[in-house]
C-alpha cells in the first residue's frame, strides 16, 4: 500500500516536471513574449517601441535569459516556496494565488457541504427500491440537472432568482468586502450541476447492495427494514460514492472557471483564465501545477480510500 502511494506520488512529481517544462518552452517563444508585451504595454506602445526599447523591456522582465536558465531558476525558487512574480498583477504569485485559492476553497467547501448530503440522500432513496416511482423520479431529475451545462444553470438562476425575484445579487464580485450572500448563486449552480452525477452513482451502488445475498437474508430473517438499511446496506453502498466524491475535486477545478467568470467571483478559475489571456507565465505555471496536484492527489485518495474501505480488493 505505502509502496503504491509512493509510486503514485513519484509519478505525480514526474508529470509536474514534464508539464512545467513544456509550458516553459511554449511560453518562451517570441510570439508569447510579444503577447505579454502587447498585453502589458498596449498595441500602440509596442508598435512605437524601438528594438532597443524592446530588448530593455525584456531584460526588465527577466525574459532575455535563455529558457533552460529561467527554468532552473524557477525550479530553484519553487523548492524554496517562491513561485515567481506575476507580470499582470505585479505581485508574488504565491500571494495572488493563495488568496484566490482561499476564495475558491470557500466556494468548494459549500459546494461539497451541500452536494454530499443531497446526492447521498437522493441516491440512497432511489437505490433502496429499484424501479420504484422514487427511483424513476430521482433518476430523471439527476439526468435533467446534469444535462444543463453550468453556464445555462448560472443564467437560469441569475435571471429568475437574481433579476426576476431580486432575492440575491446577480454578481459575486464582493465589492463591499466579503459577503456570503453573493456566494449563494455560484454554489447553487455548481451543486445543481454536480449532485445528479453523484446521486446516480450512489443509486447504482445502493441498488447493487440491495440485491446482494446478505441483505436479502437479513430482510428474510425479519430484522426491521430501517435497521437493515442503516446498519448493513449503507456501509457497503457508500464505498463507491466516496471515491466518486473525492474525484469531484478534479471536476470542480474545471467547473469553477466558467462559474467564477460568469459571476465575477475572484477565485482560482477566473485567475487562470485571466493569466492565460495575458500570457502571465508564472501564474499559469503555478495554477497548472496546483490543478495537476489536486487532480492527481484526488485520484490517489480515491484509489487508496477505495482499497482501504473495501476489504475485498487489494492491490497486488
Amino acid at each position: 500500500m505505502l509502496k503504491l502511494i509512493a509510486r503514485r506520488l513519484l509519478q505525480m512529481v514526474l508529470i509536474m516536471a514534464v508539464v512545467s517544462l513544456i509550458l516553459f518552452v511554449v511560453f518562451d517563444s517570441d510570439k508569447f513574449k510579444k503577447q505579454i508585451a502587447t498585453a502589458e504595454l498596449g498595441g500602440f506602445s509596442v508598435a512605437a517601441m524601438s528594438d532597443h526599447d524592446y530588448q530593455k523591456w525584456l531584460k526588465d522582465k527577466g525574459l532575455d535569459v535563455p529558457v533552460y536558465e529561467r527554468y532552473a531558476q524557477w525550479v530553484g525558487g519553487l523548492l524554496q516556496g517562491d513561485f515567481g512574480k506575476s507580470f499582470e498583477k505585479n505581485a508574488p504569485v504565491s500571494k495572488v494565488m493563495g488568496e484566490r485559492l482561499l476564495n475558491t476553497g470557500i466556494l468548494a467547501f459549500w459546494v461539497f457541504a451541500l452536494m454530499i448530503p443531497l446526492s447521498l440522500i437522493f441516491g440512497i432513496v432511489a437505490g433502496m427500491k429499484e424501479g420504484s416511482f422514487q427511483d424513476r423520479s430521482v433518476s430523471f431529475i439527476a439526468v435533467f440537472t446534469t444535462s444543463i451545462p453550468e453556464i445555462a444553470t448560472a443564467i437560469l438562476l441569475t435571471v429568475f432568482i437574481g433579476l426576476g425575484l431580486g432575492w440575491l445579487p446577480a454578481k459575486s464580485a464582493m465589492t463591499g468586502g466579503w459577503n456570503s450572500v453573493e456566494l449563494i448563486l455560484p454554489v447553487l449552480t455548481l451543486v445543481l450541476y454536480d449532485f445528479g452525477y453523484v446521486a446516480r452513482m450512489t443509486r447504482a451502488s445502493m441498488a447493487e447492495v440491495m440485491t446482494s445475498q446478505y441483505i436479502r437474508t437479513a430482510v428474510l430473517k425479519g430484522i426491521p427494514y430501517a435497521r437493515v438499511i442503516m446498519r448493513h446496506a449503507l456501509r457497503n453502498a457508500l464505498i463507491a460514492p466516496f471515491t466518486v466524491i473525492v474525484l469531484q475535486l478534479n471536476w470542480l477545478l474545471s467547473g469553477v472557471v466558467v462559474v467564477e467568470v460568469f459571476f465575477q467571483f475572484n477565485g482560482f478559475g477566473k485567475m487562470l483564465l485571466e493569466a492565460a489571456l495575458f500570457g502571465d507565465v508564472y501564474v499559469i505555471q503555478a495554477a497548472t501545477l496546483v490543478a495537476v496536484f489536486v487532480a492527481v492527489l484526488s485520484q490517489i485518495i480515491s484509489d487508496v480510500g477505495y482499497t482501504f474501505l473495501n476489504p475485498r480488493i487489494r492491490f497486488s
Binding site: G43, A47, K56, A91, K171, T175, L277
Partner: protein, 569 residues
C-alpha cells in the same frame, strides 16, 4: 457684459488671437483655450471672450467651485479595470493614471470644458517665439512626506522622461519631443538613439522652471496634462504602487491588480504634522476602484456593486437608459479606422481603394451605430471637435462609380477582401464592418470579416493589410495627423507616405491663428481623403454613468477622473 481687453503685458499671441476673435474669425471658446494656453488665467480669458465662465470654474484653481450642498465624507465605489502601477511615465492605459490621479498631480489640468488651467504650476509665460516657457510653481504645495514641492523636483521628473530607453510616451509629444536630440548613435535596428538636450529644462529659483525648446510649441500646457506626465517625488523607485508619494488629497492604501484599488483622504503627513491640501476642500473620504471589465461595469452599477463607472459602450445604451442612473456623455474625436495598408497587395492599387470608399456610406454607418450623438467621419481623421477642423463637402456614396473604379482597377468581376476586426472598443467595431460589408457588396466587393480577440488584434494592428483600428481622442487634429499619417512614423499603420502631405501638415502645425490653420488643414485633410487609405465612418461620443446619489461626476473626453468635488448623498 463688460468686455475685458488683453493687458499690455499679456503674450502677443493673446493680442493676436483677440483681434482674430474680434474679426469674427475665431470661435470665442477657442480664444479662451488659446489665451489660457499662453498664460492668461481662465477667468480673465472667459471675460475677454465675453462669454460667461462655467458656473463651476474658479479663479486660481483648476477645480470646480465648492458645492454648498455638498455632504462631506463617504465612499465612492467606481467600476473600472484595476491595473498595475509600475511607473507613471510608462503608463499606457488611462485607467492606470486614474488610479493615481488623486495622489500624484500634474503641472496643468485640462477641464471637461477643454480649457487647460494651472495646477501644480501657478502660472506660465511663453516667450514671443513660443520656444521658451517659464512656469511659476505654486508655493506651499506639500508632498505627503512633509517636503515642499520645489522646482528641482519638476526638473528631475522631466529629465527622467528624456532618458533613452525609458519608453515613456511623453517624448512623443511636441513639448518633450523638442527637448531631445539625436545622439548620433544607433540601436541594433539602425534607429537613432535620442537623448535629452542639455538645459532643455532648468530651475531658475526655488519655484520657477524654464523649458528651452528646440522649436516653437503652442501645446505645452496641454502636453503637461498628458496622463503619463504626473510629477513624482524624486525618491521614486519602481514599482510606483509601493512607493507613492504625492501632492494630492489622497493616498493609496491598497492596490490589488485585477481586484481593487483604494484611495483614502490624507490627513497627516509622514512626519506626523497635519496635511493641508493646496487645492481646497475635497469631499470623499475614500475612492474605491473595483475591477470590472468594460463590458461588465454597467451591470455592476445596475446591481449596486459600484456607485459609478468608468465607461460603457453604445451597445449598452438601451440598458443604461432603462436604469435609474445619470448618464454623462462627452463628444470626442475617438474613432475607428477601417484602414488599408497601401504597401501591401491589393491595397497598393489606388483605384481599388477608391472603389471601396466610394461604395461606403459613412453617414449611414454612423446613424446605424450611434443614432444619437457622434459625428460623421470623412476618411481623414480630423474631427469636428478639433478646433482646426475644416468642413470638406460631404462624401457621397456612388455605387455605379465604385463599380467603374473597380473595373478600372482590374477587377471587373468583383473582388474578395478580408478585414481583421478585434472589437477592441466593443462589439460595435464588428457592426461597422458588417454595415460596410453590406454596402460594398453592391459594388461587387465581397468583404469577409475576420473577427479575432482584442489581444490578438493588438499584435497585428500595424501589420495586417486591412484592419479596423480604434484611435483615441486627441485635443488637436494636427496631433493625430502627425502621429498617424506622417511618412515613416511608428503609428503610420496605412504606410501612407506623401511629401506634399507632410509639408502641408508641418505648415499647419506651425500656424498659430486657428482660422489660418483651418484653411491650411483643408489641403491636409483633402490629401488624405483623396489617397483613400481608409474608411473612417464616424467619431463617437463616450459615456459613463453614476448612481443618482453621486454628485459632480462628469465624463471627460479623454476619460480622466477628476473627483475633487464629487460627493455622495
Amino acid at each position: 457684459m463688460s468686455f475685458l481687453k488683453p493687458r499690455k503685458d499679456d503674450h502677443p499671441k493673446v493680442h493676436e488671437a483677440y483681434e482674430v476673435m474680434q474679426d469674427g474669425r475665431m470661435d470665442r471658446r477657442e480664444f479662451v483655450r488659446v489665451a489660457a494656453l499662453v498664460g492668461v488665467s481662465a477667468g480673465a480669458a472667459y471675460a475677454m471672450a465675453g462669454i460667461p465662465s462655467p458656473a463651476w470654474a474658479l479663479e486660481n484653481s483648476p477645480f470646480p467651485a465648492d458645492d454648498p450642498k455638498a455632504k462631506k465624507g463617504g465612499k465612492l465605489r467606481v467600476g473600472m479595470q484595476v491595473q498595475k502601477m509600475e511607473d507613471s511615465a510608462t503608463y499606457n492605459w488611462v485607467e492606470m493614471s486614474n488610479q493615481s490621479r488623486h495622489v500624484v498631480e500634474y503641472l496643468s489640468m485640462t477641464g471637461p470644458d477643454n480649457i487647460t488651467r494651472p495646477m501644480l504650476a501657478e502660472s506660465w509665460t511663453p516667450s514671443k517665439d513660443l520656444k521658451t516657457w517659464t512656469f511659476k510653481l505654486r508655493k506651499g504645495v506639500m508632498w505627503h512626506n512633509g517636503e515642499e514641492l520645489v522646482a528641482d523636483h519638476v526638473v528631475w521628473n522631466i529629465k527622467r522622461w528624456l532618458t533613452p530607453g525609458l519608453g515613456t510616451s511623453n517624448v512623443g509629444l511636441a513639448t518633450f519631443g523638442s527637448m531631445r536630440k539625436d545622439s548620433g548613435k544607433k540601436d541594433a535596428k539602425g534607429k537613432p538613439i535620442m537623448v535629452g538636450i542639455e538645459n532643455a529644462v532648468e530651475a531658475l529659483d526655488k519655484h520657477t522652471v524654464r523649458f528651452n525648446l528646440s522649436k516653437p510649441v503652442l501645446s505645452v500646457p496641454e502636453d503637461c496634462y498628458h496622463y503619463p506626465a504626473a510629477i513624482l517625488h524624486p525618491s521614486f523607485k519602481k514599482p510606483l504602487s509601493d512607493n507613492l508619494i504625492g501632492t494630492g488629497p489622497y493616498e493609496m492604501v491598497e492596490l490589488e491588480v485585477g481586484k481593487k484599488c483604494v484611495l483614502r483622504r490624507i490627513t497627516k503627513m509622514k512626519n506626523g504634522k497635519p496635511f493641508t491640501y493646496w487645492g481646497g476642500a475635497v469631499y470623499l473620504d475614500e475612492i474605491q476602484y473595483f475591477n470590472f471589465s468594460s463590458e461588465n461595469q454597467l451591470a455592476a452599477l445596475a446591481s449596486n456593486s459600484v456607485d459609478a463607472i468608468n465607461e460603457f459602450s453604445i451597445e449598452q445604451m438601451a440598458l443604461a437608459t432603462s436604469l435609474p442612473i445619470d448618464i454623462h456623455p462627452a463628444r470626442t474625436a475617438r474613432t475607428l479606422c477601417l484602414r488599408m495598408q497601401i504597401s501591401k497587395k491589393p491595397f497598393d492599387n489606388h483605384k481599388l481603394r477608391q472603389a471601396l470608399v466610394t461604395a461606403a456610406d459613412n453617414a449611414k454607418i454612423k446613424n446605424l451605430v450611434y443614432p444619437k450623438g457622434g459625428d460623421v467621419g470623412q476618411n481623414h481623421h480630423v474631427a469636428p471637435v478639433h478646433p482646426e477642423y475644416f468642413p470638406l463637402p460631404p462624401l457621397k456614396r456612388d455605387v455605379a462609380k465604385a463599380k467603374k473604379l473597380l473595373a478600372e482597377a482590374g477587377y471587373p468581376n468583383g473582388i474578395e477582401l478580408t478585414i481583421d476586426v478585434g472589437n477592441t472598443d466593443g462589439p460595435w467595431h464588428q457592426t461597422v464592418c458588417e454595415a460596410l460589408r453590406d454596402q460594398v457588396k453592391e459594388a461587387g466587393i465581397n468583404l469577409k470579416i475576420n473577427v479575432m480577440p482584442a489581444s490578438k488584434y493588438w499584435e497585428v494592428w500595424d501589420k495586417t493589410p486591412f484592419g479596423a483600428t480604434a484611435w483615441t481622442h486627441r485635443a488637436l487634429g494636427t496631433m493625430v495627423m502627425g502621429l498617424g499619417y506622417r511618412t515613416g512614423v511608428p503609428w503610420n499603420e496605412t504606410h501612407f507616405a506623401s511629401k506634399e502631405f507632410d509639408d502641408a501638415l508641418s505648415d499647419a502645425e506651425a500656424t498659430f491663428d486657428v482660422e489660418e490653420r483651418r484653411k491650411k488643414m483643408e489641403k491636409v485633410q483633402k490629401l488624405l481623403q483623396d489617397a483613400a487609405v481608409m474608411v473612417l465612418p464616424l467619431f463617437r461620443p463616450v459615456y459613463n454613468a453614476s448612481a443618482k446619489k453621486v454628485n459632480g461626476y462628469l465624463m471627460h473626453p479623454t476619460g480622466f477622473h477628476q473627483f475633487n468635488k464629487v460627493w455622495v448623498a
